[in-house]
């Protein structure tokens, strides 16, 4: 089965801190996504990518950067973390537009 691995699983940082969330998929999937999940908002797309070096802006990109360094690796960067970015973050991947999405187990980020 397709695997998407996120690290760390839990992270606490201070306001203004620098955080990098990592995601790796070993399925040779083209598409990778970063979502955040918040009560009352469901899942919201932050950034996504079609392949190595490609980046697309999602629906809630403010305060986030992303890099797709290889086909396998997709990083989410918070350079000046704020309490509003406290959330559960999911990475996901898929092969092409009409295939199912595989999700990681999530990273819980707390900004104090």
């Amino acid at each position: 089965e397709a695997a998407v691995t996120q690290s760390p699983r839990n992270k606490v940082t201070v306001t203004g801190g620098n955080v990098t969330l990592s995601c790796r998929q070993t399925n040779s999937h083209n598409y990778m996504y970063w979502y955040r999940q918040d009560t009352g908002h469901g899942l919201r797309l932050i950034h996504y990518s079609y392949g190595a070096g490609n980046l697309q802006i999602g629906d809630v990109p403010d305060g986030y950067k992303a890099t797709r360094t290889t086909q396998e690796d997709f990083f989410l960067l918070l350079e000046l973390a704020s309490p509003s970015q406290t959330s559960l973050y999911f990475c996901a991947s898929k092969t092409d537009a009409n295939t199912e999405v595989f999700f990681g187990k999530g990273t819980r980020l707390t900004v104090v």
């Binding site: 998407v4 083209n30 598409y31 996504y33 009352g40 908002h41 469901g42 899942l43 797309l45 996504y48 079609y50 697309q56 999602g58 999911f90 996901a92 898929k94 092409d96 537009a97 009409n98 199912e100 999405v101 595989f102 999700f103 990681g104 187990k105 999530g106």
Partner: protein
């Protein structure tokens, strides 16, 4: 602009009951609809999808969904639920173009009581 509406935030049924979780969508192009399940503390897992052909699609663990263009709906159903079906269910529609971007509804929490 694609949108997804799940009208029921919470649904409670008893084990063995049938259940229908509702999803309505708006779309501006070719259709691609899917359902995902999220058990507490876990990531989302794919249940089923529709993008062409038979409007009734079968998924894992006895779930099925029916696409209706006239009603703009893609409701999820199960004939007899088990306590292990307790979870949050998300309906999703693919964005316009070929981005592969999925837009999720807010989710429906299904609680199955013994």
């Amino acid at each position: 602009t694609q949108t997804v509406s799940q009208s029921d935030a919470h649904v409670t049924v008893f084990e063995g009951d049938s259940v229908e979780l509702r999803c309505n969508y708006s779309y501006g192009g070719s259709i691609y609809l899917s359902w995902y399940i999220q058990h507490h503390g876990h990531g989302l897992q794919f249940l089923l999808k529709y993008y062409s052909g038979n409007p009734v699609v079968q998924g894992v663990n006895g779930f099925e969904a029916e696409f209706s263009k006239s009603d703009s709906s893609f409701h999820l159903r199960k004939a007899s639920v088990h306590w292990s079906d307790s979870a949050v269910y998300f309906c999703a529609v693919r964005g316009t173009g070929n981005t592969g971007k999925l837009i999720f509804g807010l989710g429906t929490t299904l609680q199955v009581q013994p």
